[in-house]
Symmetry: C2
Subunit: 110 residues, 2 copies
DNA sequence: ATCGTATATCGTAATTTTACGATGAAAATA
DNA sequence: TATTTTCATCGTAAAATTACGATATACGAT
């Protein structure tokens, strides 16, 4: 990747790609599903449910947090991870808009 | 990545992650948008619209094809890329299901 | 004050991704 | 037949991703 020319893509494209990258690993999807379905929101809980080391789960949590999809609140010795409500809404709307944009055109050539 | 433990995640998670990875780069999103909005479906057309080398575009097209989202039909010296109708529908339904699953639970802890 | 628990971070290694130019292959054109 | 056009692939390099164990930090409990 010689020089990043990413600024030549538009904001929507970059944002959608970032969100997509955030969920481009089965472990991160699994983490989001766990957060959505259970009250297990501590790193330890998630580590118990997934076949990965604690440090790896922590890394994935960091990636999801960087993307803005989740936030982490420190509760003493632990950190409670949950969805970032506002950003989750943005995630969904950006992804849905993208999915809707990607469709077969009227005059499909093949 | 010592040993791939991906088989310990379920099929849906793996499929969704694969699709997400396919659109996790602005160039690939841009390519899909071009295919959706114009009749430019040749590698050369796309190369003209994006700030990347022809070989790089070809690589991105290959990635989208591997994910099944598009197909390529050889037309003499050129290749016409378009959406794979059936797989595109799967892409959309898998992604939408995933997005719907990811939601704030009733008893949010924080 | 010490010990145990939970998690983030560091160091490291293997793999994958991204990008480019150069080259090759195959069809169309001169 | 020779040339041009179009695209895929190769070779390569830089960077990012993924994973782990080890360690550091910080809080709570004893």
């Amino acid at each position: 990747m010689a020089i990043t020319k990413a600024q030549l893509f538009n904001e929507k494209q970059i944002k959608a790609a970032e969100f997509a990258k955030a969920i481009s690993h089965p472990a991160r999807i699994a983490i989001l599903q766990i957060l959505a379905k259970t009250n297990a929101c501590y790193c330890g809980d998630i580590t118990e449910e997934l076949p990965l080391a604690q440090s790896t789960i922590s890394q994935h949590l960091k990636a999801l947090k960087s993307a803005g999809i989740i936030k982490g609140e420190i509760e003493g010795v632990r950190t409670c991870y949950c969805f970032d409500e506002e950003n989750l809404a943005e995630f969904k709307s950006v992804m849905e808009a993208m999915i809707n944009e990607i469709s077969i055109p009227d005059s499909s050539c093949c």
